[in-house]
Amino acid sequence: MRAVLVAKDQMSVLLEALLQDHEVFAPVNDDALVAFRQVDSPQQVLLDYGNSTLPPKGLFFPQTETLFTYSLERGHLVLKEPQPASRSQVLFGVRPCDARSFTFLDRVFANGNQCDGCYLARRENCTVVGLSCGSPKATCFCSSVGGGPFSATGSDVLVTDLGTDYLVEAITDKGALLVESIGGCREANEDSLRRRREAEASAEATFRGAIRTEDMELRLQEMWDDPFWDRLHEKCIGCGVCTYLCPTCHCFDIVDEGSEQRGRRLRLWDSCMFPLFTQHASGHNPRPTGKERWRQRLMHKFRYWAESHGEAGCVGCGRCVVNCPVNLDIRQVLNEIESLSKRVE
């Protein structure tokens, strides 16, 4: 696939060109946050950020989504679906962990025989431009869960900072079309690819908190009744930070709102950490306490997902680690499980 070099001072020209043809979503400073927002000028775009506070998953899987509206007009029921975006979109500057998360969401919402039309339309309409991670954070652990700071998985185009230039590589056919449209750039050569490898090695070398997750699903298979769960959740306050900020969490609720005359059906993010998530109409709750809810969250990511898809359902972005109000660190939890099972052996 084609790879080109864009001089750093030419990046704004490239973004300007993208803005001509597409709606562009990119990381911007929004008060205290770094967030993915639609931009209208290259100056808004952050290219030297750590990672966004919220994952970009909301672009494909919005937190609050109207599936359809209904109204009674002269005795007839009128259903309206929301109009899809009319212009093509570019999601620019996504970190490799988040880009990889899109391939996880695809397995849920766009896996052939069970396709979600709204999701699929948004995915197909969007070209994902990844941004390699030159200096991963101390809370990052993508390399421990099958990703990497320079991983191209989930990106259509991958942009890498090489110091004076950006290396812009097409990864997919969709990405190749975007790279073709870039003017005023040089073809990448052997030297640029060597510099890319060096940058990747130096990024990999900075990981401090590597964790072992191999065979985690096998360990977890033996742990359903383990006393480990009795106290793990003790400090957890049961909020939705870990799940709402997680790029791979995809559980949702469907809610109808309105009157006999008009209303809407919504799809909303939901969280397995909320008691309401499993509350039955009878009042019975099969996951009555934090114990069952924490076990579910961990089992879903590191056992069930791994059993179904051959890899953990976590991309190691570290958002749940950084933002947990009580600093309950999933890396520590996984390490404890690892040492527990060692003791048993």
Partner: protein, 316 residues
């Protein structure tokens, strides 16, 4: 400044070995710099994990309602005021609780320190008299602690526990002349439109994760109004109107009860200014009823007590 951690561990160890409590709730070092994490110690080995420092930011009164065990709790000034409130509201039993009060010198706002570091990461953090020493790859800096305290800590007037069984550390004096409502007064002076815009912008960023509610010791309801589905009082959507109604209702439910510990704001992952509204309500209650929450366990609560002298000029 003495490290109070050893004294806290001694007190916790004694409580457990004397059989006075079943668990001591305190803090342990968090796995990342600038963080501490709530810790539940039930034996001598677990007591060794307990620490005390400027990042012990959670309000541990949160963990007290509906707990069957006899509890020892490490409590800052604000935590003890929440405990007073919970006692007043009949949510905890005093005789099953041992309060290890620790006068607090203020908690540091890690997010502001992170933004000061501009992408660099601290690997090691030390606290020295009035200073925070941060070390990372290729840098070492000292920051003036006072400048990085949480806004709630700067406005705090009760750093020393108001109720305790054991006190560890020296009482901390506070400048009572400073106006704790200065920010509220400034905001009140703004035109209505600007105030509305501020709250609308805040609400548009709320993700309804309920970290603010769940970090708050006052939010102990078995069913929160936002979780009720029969009837559904409020749409769970993140439309700005729904998010704003959630925040307003949450604050209204804390009127005359909130002690401004700031736990809600510290828990918020998207950095919302959650204290402005709560502080405003606190100010209103103080002006209307001359009442400050969490100071006296016997004082009647203004919103659940009627007095013929209550201000009533809003009834026309």
């Amino acid at each position: 400044m003495t490290d109070l951690s050893p004294a806290i561990r001694d007190a916790a160890r004694r409580l457990l070995s004397d059989g006075l409590v079943d668990v001591v709730i305190g803090f342990e070092a968090g796995p990342i710099p600038l963080r501490s994490s709530p810790c539940f110690a039930r034996d001598a080995a677990e007591v060794e994990r307990l620490v005390w420092n400027m990042s012990c930011e959670n309000n541990l009164a949160k963990y007290l309602p509906r707990r069957r065990e006899r509890v020892g709790v490490i409590a800052k000034g604000c935590d003890t005021r929440s405990i007073v409130g919970l006692l007043r509201e009949g949510q905890i039993e005093r005789e099953r609780l041992h309060i290890i009060g620790v006068p607090c010198r203020g908690l540091i706002d890690r997010r502001r320190i992170e933004s000061e570091l501009a992408g660099r990461e601290a690997i090691d953090v030390q606290e020295r008299e009035g200073e925070i020493l941060l070390r990372g790859d290729g840098f070492a800096i000292a920051l003036e602690k006072e400048r990085y305290l949480h806004a709630s800590c700067r406005a705090c007037r009760s750093p020393t526990p108001v109720i305790y069984d054991t006190l560890i550390g020296d009482p901390v004096a506070k400048d009572m002349a400073a106006d704790e409502y200065a920010t509220v007064r400034e905001f009140e002076a703004l035109p209505t439109g600007e105030r509305w815009q501020f709250f609308a912008a805040q609400a548009s960023r709320c993700i309804r994760c309920y970290a603010c509610r769940n970090a708050c010791p006052l939010c102990y309801c078995t069913e929160c109004f936002v979780d009720s589905t029969q009837p559904r009082w409020l749409s769970p959507s993140t439309d700005a109107t729904d998010a704003l109604v959630f925040q307003i209702m949450r604050v209204m439910h804390t009127a005359g009860r909130c002690v401004d510990c700031g736990a809600c704001e510290r828990a918020c992952p998207v950095g919302l200014d959650l204290r402005l509204l709560t502080k405003k309500v606190e100010k209103d209650v103080e002006e209307l009823f001359h009442y400050k929450a969490g100071l006296d366990v016997h004082e009647p609560m203004p919103l659940s007590t009627f007095s013929p002298d209550d201000p009533g000029d809003f009834i026309r």
